[in-house]
Amino acid sequence: MTEQTPGTILLRGASLLGERSADVLVVDGVIAEIGSLSAEGARVVDADGLVALPGLVDLHTHLREPGREDAETVVTGSRAAAMGGFTAVLAMANTSPVTDTAEAAERVHDLGLAAGLVDVQPVGAVTKGLGGEELAELGLMARSRARVRVFSDDGRCVADPRVMRRALEYVKAFGGVVSQHSQDPDLAGPQSCCHEGELSGRLGLPGWPGVAEEVIVARDVMLARHTGSRVHVAHASTAGTVEVLRWAKSQGIAVTAEVTPHHLLLTTDLLSGYDPTYKVNPPLRPAEDVEALRAALADGTIDAVATDHAPHARHDKEHAFVDAAFGMLGLETALPVVASVMVESGLMTWADVARVMSTTPAAIAGLEGHGRGLEVGAPANIVLVDPSADLTVDRDASVSLSRNNPWHGRTFGAAVRHTLLRGRPTVLDGSLV
């Protein structure tokens, strides 16, 4: 029996990855023992009936600090992340100012450390000011205290193929990856805000055709092959993108991709009432695309789930549909949505969820200490999920500063109960510690 310390926690009777049941002893932030254990001196967390997964990792979070602290801050976003079972999030660079220097990256990183609820890993901009023309100081961000490895102009596409090529080449020096917001700006058009299809035609909304995503994904996988570098497709949204990814992977091209929970469940017909809550970029697509995305996540063609958590102040959504801000909240509800779409339907197991929401995203982002299996010696980044919950989402119960929650009033069958960051509980019994 290991000697007990005040930082000792015993998770009693958890179902590891939804499979075998065991007690997990956490000592000094590390998983010390797994088995049938006694609990002398340890704080006991009753995990009977709960599924234990490695702490979730989000490749795609918007924390809005600096610049829009009325919508979200690193602290409030960290709270939302912990409530959602995350232990690490990648904070997108499209803040104001943009995260395009080492100093800016370190500031976000340090704010995350100070909040202390999840590891906040800044994403660096690919180009200065997200301007799409000149490379940002990718190497200095990589060498900074923040150790930036993921670069993205998210919110905008790196549309110039020459700039994209140089970015892919350049990040090879330090094992970086470029995460692309795939949206050909000319094909999609300046005001595009709705999937281009029958509904956009009827509603008279400027369409955002799936092909505007697919041509960029196709181009980028060819550039990745040419440069021998890694490209990551952010928020894949169409069946055509899935086809391109499947082909690229069959060729051994180093491409990974993520899908958001909302693109796995919501469809474009929700826009028929012009409710800006459902305005996201890329837009919600028809059911055929949703089906293809689910299948691709299940079979590994899409590697990861990422939230694209995009908090907005109320007044930024209270415009006419074309003028309203893009995006919806996602951190607190990602796991319930994925559980409902993928696990309850039988498309995936809990072990698969651990892969797509923790292990693989951590590997893509180069995050050490996250996404490890639940094994002795691993950092105790753990989430415990109630797989038979009855969770009705209430947007006013959110710990985010914003309320643009598309799931308000929906009921899900799984809920996050406890989250541990390096052995320290950040969420216990569904409440922040």
């Binding site: 008279g204 930024d316 006419a320 003028d323």
Partner: protein, 309 residues
């Protein structure tokens, strides 16, 4: 009838018949020396136009005045969200003074529906982006019915920039519901996305070929081509557009002298409609304007006089 007029979808065929019947009475009023009716005395109507339209705004303004309502015009700042204020704040501020109806024109599709969810006043959609323009469709249907006697079984062509036309979207609903057989004609680049599936469900036909469709028409409605579409690559040149889709002098001859011609205006003479066609005896362009006033008086009357009267 409902509280708002946001879309043709808000109206049953009975509602439309009611609107047309009252419009016919209002039409007679226009021939009187004293045109004022007391129906909306004490009511306040705001014409809130974020996008300029002299024609529709003045039509609603005169309609309100002849019904003795107090009408106020407010012109907004243009199409996109101004940095500071949200649309919700803007309309709440304007209606906080106690307004019975908001006649609204905005460059964004769906904006009238959104606003109707925020304010207490009746909202009348006077054109929302490329979505709908229901009062225009009602006045077009009213005008055509007066000329043709009925719309039942009549073959009506809508020709032009369908993608960007709110007049088309409202008209196709209104005319088909009143029994017309509608065919819409445009080059493929100006057909709305998904129209193939949508038209089947909504009961109208589509065509790229005006010359094939024209001889069968009982009425033709030409839609305005926005000049800026030409540089957008929707079609190669004005000349090519006119040859393919304009109501030219030659096509006027094919049409014959009894087939009515409509255009919601303002017209691009020589582009989508030849001067000969615009000024032909069968042209209803000016009737549309005077009918528009009668139809809008009727709409205001039914939405606003109803509750008290």
């Amino acid at each position: 009838m409902r509280k708002h007029l946001l879309s043709i979808d808000d109206l049953s065929v009975d509602d439309m018949d009611t609107i047309f019947a009252t419009a016919a009475e209002m039409h007679d009023v226009q021939r009187r020396e004293v045109k004022k009716l007391p129906a909306l005395r004490g009511r306040t109507i705001i014409n809130l136009f974020f996008e300029d339209s002299t024609r529709t705004r003045s039509s609603f303004e005169i309609a309100g005045k002849w019904l003795s309502a107090d009408t106020i015009n407010i012109t907004g700042k243009g199409s996109s969200a101004s940095k500071g204020e949200s649309l919700r704040d803007t309309v709440l501020t304007i209606t906080a003074m106690g307004v019975d109806a908001l006649v609204m024109r905005h460059a964004a599709s769906g904006s009238a529906l959104q606003v109707s969810q925020w304010v207490d006043a009746s909202v009348i959609n006077a054109g929302d982006g490329t979505h709908e323009h229901p009062s225009q469709a009602l006045l077009d249907a009213y005008t055509l019915r007066r000329t043709l006697g009925t719309l039942e079984g009549k073959r009506v062509l809508l020709v032009g920039d369908l993608t960007h036309s709110r007049v088309f979207r409202s008209n196709v609903k209104c005319l088909t519901r009143l029994g017309a057989e509608v065919t819409v004609v445009a080059p493929p680049t100006l057909m709305p996305s998904g129209v193939d599936t949508w038209s089947r469900e909504a009961g109208f036909a589509t065509s790229y070929d005006l010359d094939e469709a024209l001889p069968k028409a009982d009425a033709v409605m030409m839609l305005r081509v926005q000049r800026e579409r030409m540089s957008g690559g929707f079609f190669p040149s004005a000349r090519e557009y006119t040859v393919g889709y304009g109501l030219t002098r030659d096509r006027l001859a094919v049409l014959g002298p009894d087939v009515p011609i409509c255009h919601p205006g303002p017209m691009n003479r020589g582009l989508e409609i030849a001067a000969d066609a615009a000024d032909a005896a069968q042209s209803l362009v000016l009737d549309q304007v005077s009918s528009g006033l009668a139809v809008r008086m009727s709409i205001l009357y039914h939405l606003l006089a109803g509750e008290g009267a």
